[in-house]
Symmetry: C6
Subunit: 192 residues, 6 copies
């Protein structure tokens, strides 16, 4: 697991990549969100066997960033000058739901700013167009999967704190939890 | 519930956001309609796991506003110069039906005028292209959900007044009801 | 019912709105067809939970008007300079079939000419591209619904006259029937 | 039936309209193919509750005409300067199959040349891109329907002659049959 | 059958038409692939009740020709200046599978070069983007259908020779077989 | 099998073609990925009866190459100046899953650089947007199929080494295995 964690660190250590947490029918898992920008006209390409709700999270993240470009010291014109590709590996596994929203947001912001995401950091949470982070399900399974993978910090909605408190504290020793209300807080925590 | 109400106030206190009322299979609920404008060409993006009828409400609201731009002191050219994104949070829940029409209308009008929506105000009602507000179902459940959430005013169609009158008045103390016939009345009540 | 009739008069008293008659699984009903024009390139937007056949009626009405622009003293260029939105209220109810054709035609012609539709007038009938009005079903139910709503004149295909003759004349006292062969006759009767 | 025949004559007596024969689950029937041209860019709009194979017949007819424009003394540029709408009335009835091909071809050729189709003439037959007319089914039912409607001439594929010969000659007295091999023969017979 | 063969010869004797062999649920059959070019921008229209795999064969044939234009002495610009329509008659019969690939290729090459296909020649075989002809199924049924239709030469993949060898030689007297490896060989054999 | 191997060599010996390994319901098989470039605007055409996940692999490979153009000494503008067609032969067989990712990548890189793929080399593995190669299933069946086909080297993810070690070494004598972590390693091994 330290080796695995190290692997995550090395392969995710580039702008545009963020680590999320998923709860699938086989239990909790970690999830990479990968973003590449190319010359383009603002088109958004989504791959990785994603369902509609997960695709909508990406669209919501992008609109938020576009509308809040100044706060991130981004030139708002960049959004219409790039093609954006978001991929979520493990194409054999169908993925859906809104809980990757914060991870989509972080990966996109990382790609556009060129700032890497803090290493050993994972996150889960729905996002809204007005900048809120909403609570999601499967917290226990997601947190344990993050622990197994050697991750050290997890960002989630303040309304999910109660779900973390129900986990036996022995199982999650060494993990720092960040409870947030807004998408801006996520980006401040995540981008280095 | 006062705290929750306060939460709604704080997170919804920006142009482009309006509070609606929904009646789902688990009962009444409040619903945020969120709108962001960006540079664009009049394209309308709709997210939040919305069904076709709900998407049609957004298109109807937009056509109405475009056609009545002057009354709202809007430059009609703005509609072809913006990309419009409407999102309804809680992507895990499928949403449909025409009853969010007035809320769509209000959120869009708020986004285009820059005027915020009155705080602690919720609404429900179908809209038409000729400017009428039509009655909708689930009034009792919607009103009780508004009350639980700490909301203080509700706008609905005059033909729904009879449904409010059937609710035990003890349950809805402190809520002001506004019964309207036209979409223009909604906007006059809702935009501050 | 006189009050209801008055309501219809007031809310439908604007160019682009025509009253049709529908026969649904719950019986006869009246139906508003609403049209708004905006700056555009001839695109046709259709909302109101409409099936494909009903959408095709709108396309057929539009092509007919475009091809017969001169007769209506319309500049034929206007069709490529406007965006056209047709909406049929009560989004919760799926609607389909060809019988709203004459109403679609009338609402569109009213919107393009700026001439209102005669008050208290309803209509039902399929249209063709060569200008014919065809007979439709559910005449008895439609006529009784028009009577209940306080309407005073009904336009339909001459081949439907036999269906009206089968209705007990006590039930339809005070309604004037117009039996037509062509779409031009409909417009001459309907536009004031 | 003479009266009905007269009705067909009057309502179909304009360029762009041709009479076909259909064989549906309720028996043989006559079928109008209606074509209107407007300013456009060669786009083909098809309405009337048509299935994919019937829509493909229209596309095949159009490509053939475009490629054989000279033979019809048509300027080949006209095909990219018009919007083409083909409608088949009676929207409540789903229609499909290749047998309306010759009628589609004739209606289109009539619309583009401005030449009317010979009155009291019906036709049925599949078309190909290389100009052949192919045999179709339901000949007996189609021919009897044409007779009932007062039609006087029928065009079909030479390979369908054997099907006509099997019909009791008393039933089809007064109808002239034209057996053709090519689409050019159809147009020579049909356009006046 | 000599007469039928003669018919095939006469109706197929034009550039853009090639004869294939199909194996359907009713047995072997011959199949015409018809191609017409018109002014356009390289768009490919496919009709004749074709399944996706058969449509993909046409796209593959077109890409191959475009990429090997020089070998066929074609100006590569012609591919972006023409609209291409491929039709396979008998619209009532659904058609699918990769085995019409060589016939699609030949018909397209014939249309673009203006060279006719050798008369009394049929073919069957899958094609690839790198120019290979692959073996297909139903050889016995296809060959017997070609024989019945009076065809005299058949082109197929060298890996299908073993399937021909299994047919009683009395049944296929007078047919010449061409076993090929590449799409270039097909075109050299087929185009006159 | 030496003869078959030779066949593969000869038919695949051109830029744009790479050999993959598939695991279908009938067992392991080899798979050709074929790529042709033509004048275009960056559009990606995919044929060969491919499922959505396999199509997404192609899109991912293309975005990766576009974003890492410099490393491959490619002018990044070339991606918007070419039409790209990827075909996977044997159209009768539906194909899906992420395991052709490395082969898609290699075939595309080969087409864009003009460098051929090393002969007698096969590969299997999922790809990611950040350049990782991920493990896939069916290794035993794929390796045995490669052996039967006379292939001599196989590239796969380092996490699949354990699957190779479970195969009886007598069965895979003479095959060299390359275990990789990154897509860059694949391209260094594969392009000659
Ligand atoms: Ca996993
Ligand atoms: Ca997540
Ligand atoms: Ca809720
Ligand atoms: Ca609402
Ligand atoms: Ca009603
Ligand atoms: Ca009607
Ligand atoms: Ca009929
Ligand atoms: Ca016909
Ligand atoms: Ca046949
Ligand atoms: Ca064939
Ligand atoms: Ca194989
Ligand atoms: Ca592979």
């Amino acid at each position: 697991s330290p080796r695995y964690s190290n692997e995550i660190y090395k392969t995710a250590n580039m702008p545009g990549v963020a680590v999320g947490l998923a709860y699938t029918y086989v239990g909790g898992d970690i999830l990479f969100i990968e973003t590449l920008l190319s010359e383009g006209k603002g088109e958004l390409k989504l791959t990785g066997n994603l369902g509609n709700v997960m695709k909508e999270s990406a669209a919501t993240a992008l609109s938020y960033l576009q509308s809040n470009a100044k706060k991130l010291q981004l030139n708002s014109e960049v959004f219409s000058q790039k093609g954006i590709h978001i991929h979520v590996p493990e194409g054999a596994v169908p993925k859906d739901g809104p809980s990757a929203g914060v991870t989509m947001l972080t990966a996109l912001a990382s790609a556009f700013t060129g700032r890497k995401v803090k290493p050993y950091l994972a996150m889960t949470g729905e996002i809204t167009l007005r900048g809120q982070v909403l609570p999601v399900g499967g917290i226990k399974e997601k947190v344990l999967a993050a622990k197994r993978a050697g991750l050290k910090e997890i960002v989630m909605c303040w309304q999910n704190e109660k779900d973390v408190n129900e986990i036996d504290s022995n199982f999650i020793k060494g993990i720092d939890f960040h409870y947030v209300k807004t998408m801006q807080q996520v980006l401040e925590l995540a981008l280095v």
